[in-house]
Amino acid sequence: MRDCWNAESFYLYLEEELDPSERREFEAHLARCPSCRGVLAERRLLHEAFTSLPPFEVPPDFALSVMDRLPEPAEARPRWLAALAAGTASLVVGLLGFFILTGENLSDVLVAVIRSLSSGFGRLLPLFAKLLKVGGLLLDVASGFVTMLGKGLVALLSSLGTEGIGLILGLGLLLSLLLFLGAKRLLSSGEKA
């Protein structure tokens, strides 16, 4: 017949991919066209075979063999590293901000901070030694050491001056940045793995 549908329509009909109006038209045509009914019967058999090809056999231990070949999971995420980097960066940025905003001599600020810290430790450590009454001597030694360390740092910072402190802070900032980037990379590689 002259109004026969094209070959693709037969497959789309069998796959129920024709829209409802096309489907009705197609079926109406089939009803009056023996030739197309023959074509449809042939394509139907083929379609049935196409859609029922047997599966490939997969061994029962296939999934386990895949799991054995997977890369090892990334090590526990070093969150402490990111926290340390963030803390250091905050301290450095805070000190720099203080220096820029107040115009105070940075070395004086640092000296004051270290003095108060060292004296704080100096007071606390003997107190602990008395409270614990054990190892008091050791703690006294430790206290002395901390005090000496503090004094040493004070002396060092005084001798360095503003430029030297600025340089140290800059290096500290750079180190913090590197630590932060390294931690971030480790975290992202852990996610990928």
């Binding site: 026969c4 549908w5 094209n6 070959a7 693709e8 037969f10 497959y11 789309l12 991919e17 030739s35 197309c36 023959g38 074509v39 042939e42 058999l45 083929l46 049935e48 075979a49 196409f50 859609t51 029922s52 090809l53 047997p54 599966p55 490939f56 056999e57 997969v58 061994p59 296939f62 999934a63 386990l64 063999s65 895949v66 799991m67 070949r69 997977l70 890369p71 999971p73 990334a74 996610e191 990928k192 793995a193």
Partner: protein
């Protein structure tokens, strides 16, 4: 996907899982999320869910079971390493088969096997395959059982261009919808429909000649 011989297709793009397991099988996105947090059991469930459909697809594309299993392993490892880039907005099975398809293409490129672009016109032994007025042609003898026809299809499948074979397999072996295949292959839906039709006509004609 991965239906048994003679089984009625359940739903385009669906995955065959053992009966009773459907309700207990978590969603793909849940499994992916767990796997990303280091839960290897969750990824194992993904492997178990897709090992059959993926091997069916790769088996038809390579023509060899052993090669298909090797490829399947490689694809699952690629999927595992790329899980971080999966976006739950997309269907997981579509994403997985896209990786599998690209993996095959890479393999063929490395091996320098002849591939056929889907943009090229196709001529088979019997001339250009363009949609035409139905031609009864050599009728498939009804006396053959479906099993025999399937055997002929398997043989004929190996002889048609890989680009057409792939679309046919995704549609009729893996039961993806035309829209899903269009996503996997980054092709317009109309092109996919037409190429699947061409693949079927190639098979029909080659089976007729065998």
């Amino acid at each position: 996907m991965g239906k048994q011989s003679g089984a009625k297709p359940s739903r385009p793009g669906s995955v065959s899982v053992p009966e009773g397991a459907v309700s207990s099988m978590p969603e793909d996105s849940t499994l992916v999320s767990k796997a990303l947090k280091g839960d290897r059991k969750a990824f194992e469930m993904i492997v178990r869910k897709y090992e059959q459909p993926l091997t069916n697809y790769l088996g038809r594309m390579t023509g060899e079971r052993e090669a298909a299993l090797d490829f399947s392993q490689e694809v699952f490892i690629k999927v595992y390493c790329s899980l971080g880039s999966y976006r739950p907005a997309y269907k997981f099975s579509t994403w997985l088969f896209k990786i599998a398809s690209n993996h095959l293409i890479d393999h063929w490129r490395k091996k320098k096997l002849p591939t056929l672009s889907l943009d090229q016109p196709v001529d088979d032994n019997e001339g250009s395959l363009t949609p035409q007025v139905p031609d009864p042609g050599p009728s498939v003898a009804r006396k053959f059982e479906l099993a025999e026809i399937r055997q002929k299809i398997e043989r004929a499948l190996e002889s048609i261009p890989a680009a057409f074979r792939e679309l046919f397999v995704l549609r009729h072996v893996n039961e993806f919808s035309y829209e899903e295949i269009a996503d996997i292959k980054s092709l317009p839906v109309g092109t996919v429909k037409n190429r699947v039709f061409q693949a079927k006509e190639m098979l029909r004609k080659r089976m007729g000649g065998s």
